[in-house]
Structures are given as structure tokens and as C-alpha cells.
């Protein structure tokens, strides 16, 4: 469904190519500064990315505000909203309608964004990205600021959303356990490139500097830290 090749943003993203099939939920993991957000930007047409993107044969970056939200929407990692809009209006500005019962926004919809808690604000912003029902959801850290129950609900909601119809999601996420649990595929990024698919012990240790021990993630012992020897 999505075919992207040679995506590049000078200094941040180098020749990234990927394909995502309809119905797939793909998680993007990698250390800070590895290029996850840059890849999402390149797909969403933020900045001046080079490379080719085809979403069901259409380059969504060529589309204007009237049509683009039907093809893709992007949720940035920041939860700041520069103007104190009313939640319902904010969702409408994103090109969708505020009727997502699954996010339980009922009581929040008529409130101003600056009167909401960070987590509530997150849910409204997520609703903004989901509401136009795009073919491709690009979400940057969607579970940040959400309580544990909402983290689970959100990932299950995204799953459910993309299982109906010709849709897919690409989610940048730091929580490796959540990625393992919910993703159909995991893409690992390091220093501006997609370096691997799937989480494999030695590779994770090499890139993140952590390893699984007794059911929890721990730092790789300093003497064996592969990052210090790079």
C-alpha cells in the first residue's frame, strides 16, 4: 500500500526505503536522534524531504489540505497547541469530525485546550489525527502522557482502526515491549538509517545499549557497552 524510497533529509535521514502493506501496524524504534521523527516527517511532507512516496499510487505530499488528510495524518510528539482552541474545533481543523466514541472525548469536546490536562490534551490531539480516517496514520510517541490503561486502549484502537479497510499505521515508539506486543513488524533505526527489521538480542544491545535480564531491560554492562567502542 505504501511504497517509499530514498527518503532523505540532509543531516538527519539518509536514503530510507520502506513498504507497508494494507492492514499492517509497523513500529519504528531507535535511540534518541536516530531519525524516527525525521522519517515520519519525510513521509508527511514536512520540511523539504527528497525521495519518492506512493500511497496507493498517489504521492500524498502533492495533495492540498482538502485531500491530504484522507491519505495521511501525522501526530507530532509535542503536545503543545499554540492557540487555546476548543477541542471540537481543533479536531475539525484537522479535516475530520469529532465523533470518535472510542476515545471517550464527550466531556472534553467543548473545553478549551489550555484547560485540559496533558493526558486529556493528548487524547484530543490523537483524535485529531484519527478523525479524518486516513489510509496511513503516522504517529510519533502516541502513548506518551497517557495513563497505563489508555496506553493499551490507544494501541488497540489503532489496531482496530486499520484492520477495517485499506489502512495502515507507522508508529514511532520508545517502549520496546509495547512495540513487540502490538506491531506486525518492527523497523529499527540508527543514525538516520533503517538498519534492521525485528528486535534481536545482540542487535538491540548494539544499538540501544540495553539487554533483557530476568524479564526486565537493563543497561549492558559498561565493559561490554558496544556504544562506547564505536
Amino acid at each position: 500500500m505504501l511504497e517509499a524510497s530514498d527518503l532523505a533529509i540532509p543531516g538527519r535521514l539518509f536514503d530510507a526505503s520502506l513498504r507497508i502493506a494494507a492492514g499492517e501496524l509497523v513500529c519504528l524504534v531507535g535511540p534518541n536522534g536516530s531519525g524516527k521523527t525525521s522519517l515520519l516527517h519525510a513521509l508527511a511532507g514536512i520540511g523539504r524531504p527528497s525521495g519518492r512516496v506512493a500511497l496507493d499510487g498517489v504521492d500524498p505530499r502533492q495533495l492540498g489540505p482538502a485531500r491530504r488528510p484522507r491519505y495521511l495524518t501525522y501526530l507530532p510528539a509535542t503536545r503543545d497547541v499554540p492557540w487555546p482552541l476548543i477541542a471540537r474545533d481543533l479536531i475539525a481543523l484537522g479535516g475530520g469530525e469529532a465523533n470518535l466514541p472510542t476515545l471517550e472525548l464527550g466531556g472534553l469536546l467543548d473545553r478549551r485546550m489550555d484547560s485540559l490536562s496533558t493526558g486529556e490534551r493528548s487524547r484530543v490531539l490523537i483524535a485529531r489525527a484519527l478523525a479524518p480516517r486516513p489510509k496511513l496514520l503516522l504517529l510519533d510517541e502516541p502513548t506518551a502522557n497517557l495513563d497505563p490503561l489508555w496506553q493499551i486502549r490507544l494501541m488497540e484502537l489503532v489496531r482496530e482502526e486499520i484492520s477495517a479497510g485499506d489502512r495502515a499505521a507507522l508508529i514511532a515508539i520508545h517502549d520496546l515491549d509495547a512495540a513487540t506486543r502490538y506491531a506486525d513488524r518492527i523497523l529499527v533505526m540508527d543514525r538516520g538509517r533503517i538498519t534492521a527489521e525485528g528486535l534481536h538480542g545482540p542487535h538491540v544491545a548494539a544499538i540501544f545499549g540495553i539487554e533483557r535480564a530476568n524479564g526486565a531491560w537493563r543497561p549492558v554492562r559498561p565493559s561490554a557497552d558496544p556504544r562506547s567502542s564505536r
Partner: protein, 319 residues
């Protein structure tokens, strides 16, 4: 803007325009019909028209600039645009004399562009309130000092008197031709700014999201800046620098649009026109025996409002 608010605003503006044409009534009731006609057509009509377009221009460009900077305290005067335009006009007048409206308006547009370019260089496109205001203050102070310097060095001893209009603004004794000279660019640029309303509303979702929705932010920024500078520059060339209207009008207008910054452009234009007409009525009807500069009236009314707004932001931040 809801239908009812919109109708109220149009009615209030119409009332202000009629009042502005008819008040004070005495000269119009003069036995000499020709004189009364001359007062109405030659004096009051251009003055009212200028108050209408200049106020609307300040309101619309204020709303657009606030939407662009995502900052309710940005405006053509606080960001140094109007003082830059005034400097440009005075320097041009110094070189070519005051009787060359085309040169004057080119001079003031260049001055305004220079001020705005300097602001973007100093504060950056997504300036914090403090950076924006400090940079604007520095630019205004510099432009003001240079304007005074140009006047001090002027060969004619009357230069200061002539230039007084450009420093505090004046709508008095302008011809219909001069009014048209300000009105045509103002109406064109306001219309074009209003066409940017939807994109400026989407900018309220943040720059990245607006881009992901398909807006060209670089082009949008350039359009808002150029249109504001052109429209405000043309008005400053005819009437001089008038402060605070561009700051206040959008703040009221956003209350009528549920906080939508782009949609507020039309309302801000109407409110700006209303405010400047009311200020001019104060100038005309104040029983002082002499004429107040209109910029003094808008500053006296606007400065307390500005302080209240700053205090309001502080309370909200600390709450």
C-alpha cells in the same frame, strides 16, 4: 463569527461611519449649502474613508501577524513595522519632499519591510513573546531615533512640524485622491489576507501539523509578511503611524471566532475600522480647542488595554 455578532459589528461600524460623516453637525447646517457640501465631500469623506481603511488594514494585518507568530501580542506597531514605515516615509520626504505620495509610500513600504526583516532576523519566525516584544521594542526605538535624527538634520525648520503627522498619525486634510491611494492597496491586501484565513487557522495546530495537512508554510509566511507590509505601508505613507489598533482589534475579534486566529481576520478588520473611527470622533469632539493627534488617542486608550493583556497572560502562566 456567529451571524448575530457579525450583524452587530457591521451595524456598529455603519453607525460610526455615519456619525463620522455628520458630527459635529453645526457646519453642515450652515446656511451656505455649497460650504456644507464642501465640508462633507472635501473634508469629512476622505477622513472617514481613511479611518475606515486604515483601521481595517491595521486590524486585518494585526490578526494575520498574530496568527503567524502564534502570539497574541504581535502586531504591526509592536513589531516595529509601523515605526519602520514612518522612518521610511520621513527619510523619503527628506530626500524628495512631502508632496510625492508615490515616493513616500514606496519609502514607507521599504522602511516597513526593513523593520520586519530585522525582526525575523532578531527574533526568528517562531518567536517567544519576550523575544518578540524586546526585538520589536529595539527596532521601534531605533526607527524612532533615526526618524528624529533625520528631522534634526533637516534643512527646513518646518520639517519637524511636517513630520509630526508621520510620528503620531493624522487623518486630517487629506484629499480624496490621497484616501484612494491608501484605500486601494489596503482593500486588495485585506481581501488577500482573508483568503489565507483557513491556512492560518490550520497553523493553530502547530507548524508541523499544518505542513502535514498540505500547507506551504514558507509561502504562507512570506504572503502574510508582504501583504501586511504593503497594505500598512501605503496607509502609513498617507496618514503616518497609528499604534495599538492592530494589537487590540484581533484580540476582540478572536473572542467572536472561538479563538480561531485566521477566521478572526475579517472581524479584526471590522473592529479596527470601528476603533479608528471612534478615535477620530474623540479627536473631533474633544473640547480642547485644538486638534489632538489621533495616534495619541489610540495610544491613551490602547496602552492600558495592552498592560491589562500582559498582566492577564502573566496570571494565566502563573496559575
Amino acid at each position: 463569527m456567529s451571524g448575530r455578532n457579525s450583524i452587530m459589528l457591521w451595524l456598529a461600524l455603519a453607525a460610526a461611519l455615519i456619525a463620522s460623516l455628520l458630527l459635529p453637525l453645526q457646519p453642515l447646517l450652515d446656511v451656505d449649502r455649497g460650504l456644507a457640501k464642501a465640508v462633507l465631500i472635501e473634508l469629512r469623506l476622505p477622513r472617514t474613508l481613511l479611518a475606515l481603511v486604515y483601521g481595517a488594514m491595521l486590524g486585518a494585518s494585526g490578526a494575520a501577524i498574530q496568527a503567524l507568530f502564534a502570539n497574541p501580542l504581535a502586531s504591526p506597531d509592536l513589531t516595529g513595522t509601523t515605526s519602520g514605515a514612518a522612518l521610511g516615509a520621513v527619510v523619503t520626504a527628506y530626500l524628495f519632499g512631502f508632496a510625492a505620495p508615490l515616493a513616500l509610500s514606496i519609502g514607507s513600504v521599504v522602511g516597513a519591510l526593513g523593520a520586519l526583516a530585522l525582526l525575523l532576523a532578531l527574533a526568528g519566525p517562531k518567536a517567544e513573546t519576550a523575544t518578540l516584544l524586546l526585538s520589536g521594542l529595539a527596532i521601534s526605538a531605533l526607527a524612532g531615533a533615526l526618524t528624529t535624527l533625520a528631522l534634526a538634520l533637516a534643512p527646513s525648520p518646518f520639517a519637524f512640524y511636517d513630520a509630526y503627522d508621520w510620528l503620531m498619525g493624522s487623518l486630517i486634510d487629506r484629499s480624496l485622491d490621497q484616501a484612494a491611494f491608501a484605500a486601494i492597496p489596503a482593500v486588495l491586501t485585506i481581501t488577500m489576507l482573508m483568503r489565507l484565513s483557513p491556512a492560518l487557522d490550520r497553523l493553530a495546530l502547530g507548524e508541523e501539523v499544518a505542513q502535514s495537512l498540505g500547507d506551504n508554510i514558507v509561502r504562507l509566511r512570506l504572503m502574510v509578511v508582504c501583504l501586511s507590509v504593503l497594505g500598512v505601508g501605503a496607509c502609513v505613507a498617507i496618514c503616518g503611524a497609528i499604534g495599538f489598533v492592530g494589537l487590540i482589534a484581533p484580540i476582540f475579534a478572536r473572542r467572536l471566532t472561538n479563538g480561531h486566529p485566521g477566521r478572526a481576520i475579517l472581524g479584526a478588520a471590522l473592529i479596527g475600522a470601528l476603533l479608528l473611527n471612534l478615535a477620530d470622533l474623540v479627536v473631533r469632539l474633544a473640547p480642547l480647542g485644538r486638534t489632538l493627534p489621533i495616534g495619541v488617542v489610540t495610544a491613551l486608550l490602547g496602552a492600558p488595554f495592552f498592560l491589562w493583556q500582559v498582566a492577564h497572560m502573566r496570571w494565566r502562566l502563573s496559575a
